[in-house]
């Protein structure tokens, strides 16, 4: 089955979503990621969605779920790279992704993760 790769970099897990996900693939990512967090004791998850041309309510919910589950497993999630058109559409759709930390790009996202870990 098709899978979205999860890379480990030190204390962090990195995910770059590069395909237009169907719902089951999004669900699989959620499961894989929580499993990897508990296996690796990662303290941060960075999800790059700069290639995503659309985030609908299902994908939005998947991102919220990942952030919530990660938090319970002692990891922070940052979603980076959302395209402006996607952001405009999401808010109009009625989703503001509560509880999700975002950053404009990977560098800013890593910085956010590092500073939140140093703050502990």
């Amino acid at each position: 089955m098709e899978k979205i790769p999860i890379l480990r970099m030190g204390d962090y897990l990195l995910v770059t979503i590069q395909v237009d996900m169907h719902d089951r693939l999004a669900m699989a990512l959620q499961d894989d990621l929580t499993k990897r967090i508990s296996e690796t004791s990662a303290h941060g998850v960075l999800i790059d969605i700069s290639s995503l041309e659309m985030v609908d309510s299902f994908i939005g919910r998947m991102l919220s779920n990942i952030a919530g589950m990660s938090r319970v497993l002692d990891a922070e999630t940052v979603v980076v790279g959302m395209q402006p058109a996607v952001a405009i559409t999401l808010v109009e759709l009625g989703l503001s992704l509560p509880g999700i930390r975002t950053a404009l790009n990977v560098d800013a996202g890593m910085e956010l993760l590092r500073s939140s870990m140093n703050g502990i």
Partner: protein
């Protein structure tokens, strides 16, 4: 109003929802929609295609490109599923009979310029949206 082209895509499995997104993206881009408008109509199509699949048990999306005096894209989602007993309730944000967020129908309405839903219990549901360029 002149209908320039029409096509129909079957919605019977999850990859079909992705196919709908891709096709609506292509056609709206070809019509000259702005990137934001493309994204809005693609997102609305994704929500409605998923509803057709999950709640309607599968169906079709019919797409019409419109021209004269205005350029637009009309999408019709049709299924022969159980129907929606209370449309007003189904349009309310946060209401769902499934496992979703309950934003699909109301969200699609907000993302479209025109919206109509015709549903008969036991017979099926037809949702129509139009987005103008």
């Amino acid at each position: 109003m002149v209908t320039v082209s029409t096509e129909t895509i079957a919605l019977t499995s999850e990859p079909d929802v992705v196919a709908v997104r891709r096709r609506v993206r292509e056609v709206s881009a070809k019509l000259g929609f702005s990137l934001v408008d493309q994204t809005k109509v693609v997102t609305a199509a994704s929500e409605l295609a998923r509803n057709t699949l999950i709640y309607g048990g599968g169906g079709t999306m019919h797409m019409e490109t419109l021209n004269g005096p205005r350029v637009g894209l009309k999408l019709i989602f049709e299924d022969n599923g159980p129907g929606i007993p209370n449309i007003e309730l189904a349009l309310r944000d946060g209401y769902t009979t499934g496992t979703g967020l309950g934003l699909g129908l109301g969200g699609a309405k907000r993302l479209a310029n025109e919206f109509s839903v015709d549903s008969r219990v036991g017979e099926g549901t037809k949702v129509m949206i139009t987005r103008w360029k």
